[in-house]
């Protein structure tokens, strides 16, 4: 796992996001057993209390569950995974929009730009399929 932390948010929230991303991408699978808090803390190089807090929050959100003696597991996903993917998508879009605003583009300009880019992509794809056909 890649544990890199930025300066602007609490570390437990960043741990939650990293693990959510792994659940969304399927890197962490439903029913998979998680390492102990101590092991995970050591792996990430963080305080065990911080790791504990992140896992407790993930549990509260229903993404992981614990069994008294057996340890902690990734929850059965179903809609959760879709929800996470959507959440992640919104996050990326927000990030992208913010960057564009900082560069001085308006929302309309960004939409326009995206449209042009999408059309260009489509044309290129069509050209490629045509070329394949003519070969």
């Amino acid at each position: 796992m890649d544990w890199k932390f930025t300066d602007d948010a609490p570390i437990y929230q960043q741990i939650m996001n990293i693990m959510k991303r792994q659940i969304a991408s399927g890197e962490l699978k439903a029913g998979q057993k998680l390492s102990s808090v101590r092991e995970l803390a050591l792996e990430a190089g963080v305080n065990p209390n911080t790791m504990q807090k992140a896992l407790a929050e993930l549990e509260r959100e229903g993404l992981v569950y614990s069994q008294r003696t057996a340890g902690r597991f990734v929850a059965e996903q179903g809609d959760i995974r879709e929800g996470l993917q959507e959440e992640l998508m919104m996050e990326y879009v927000d990030e992208f929009l913010e960057k564009m605003m900082k560069l001085g583009f308006s929302v309309d300009e960004v939409i326009d730009l995206l449209q042009k880019k999408a059309e260009k992509r489509q044309r290129r794809q069509m050209r490629m399929t045509e070329n394949e056909r003519s070969e």
Partner: protein, 229 residues
């Protein structure tokens, strides 16, 4: 676990600690942060029982500083203290004799993972390895309080990681760990709380999460603001 109430310490006419009050709980790793000469080492030495105070009350585990507290406090001094003529194994023996809570097997295991031969003399070790040996000894005690004064003082970034992992891997979850350092960005992610100290006075005592949540910046960044010259 640790209580300081209105602690005052002076060196001649210079005030090292002025009316310092704070409380530290068990199960927490606390960063003691401040510029040079702010009183960090003085505070640690008082808690370790090496300095007495002019005024105020200091208690560890509800007891005044003395023989009882030294038994449960594991202290890493800022400067190297291992005699260079000794071999590593002699130091292990000394620790075993002095401290009931010293776990020899833990120390030997850590040294092995560092590829440090217990037969080598301290003088033959590199500066980084000497610091690691000291930390290994201090962390091999099952203490209730760990006082670490600049544990990463003179080591390279790779060794810093080792030192942080050693602390995380070995501290007793019911213990209280106090780390003084100026390498904040390296240590920040293993801390529960931080204490900012300036001219012997407490400036801030706050949880790292809350600083990041409320200030939207790292402890390191906040420190630079508070102590900007």
């Amino acid at each position: 676990m640790i209580q300081c109430e209105h602690v005052k310490k002076e060196y001649g006419r210079k005030t090292a600690l002025a009316d310092f009050s704070a409380e530290f709980e068990t199960g927490k790793i606390i960063g003691l942060l401040g510029p040079n000469g702010s009183g960090k080492t003085t505070l640690i030495k008082i808690l370790a029982g090496l300095l007495t105070t002019e005024e105020g009350v200091v208690r560890i585990d509800k007891k005044p500083i003395g023989v009882d507290t030294k038994r449960i406090v594991s202290y890493l001094p800022e400067r190297p203290y291992l005699s260079s003529a000794f071999r590593v194994k002699d130091i292990i023996r000394t620790f075993e004799e002095f401290y009931e809570d010293f776990d020899k097997s833990v120390a030997e295991q850590m040294l092995q993972s560092l590829h440090i031969d217990t037969k080598s003399r301290i003088a033959s070790l590199s500066k980084g390895n000497r610091e690691k040996v000291q930390l290994v000894m201090v962390m091999s005690r099952r203490a209730k309080v760990y006082l670490l004064d600049e544990p990463m003082g003179g080591v390279d970034p790779a060794a810093r990681d080792f030192i942080l992992k050693t602390i995380l891997n070995n501290y007793n979850e019911e213990a209280c760990v106090l780390i003084s350092t100026h390498l904040i960005s390296d240590v920040e992610k293993i801390l529960d709380e931080v204490i900012f100290i300036k001219d012997g006075e407490l400036v801030l005592h706050e949880s790292v999460d809350r600083i990041r949540e409320e200030e939207k910046k790292s402890v390191d960044a906040l420190f630079r603001e508070v102590f900007a010259c």
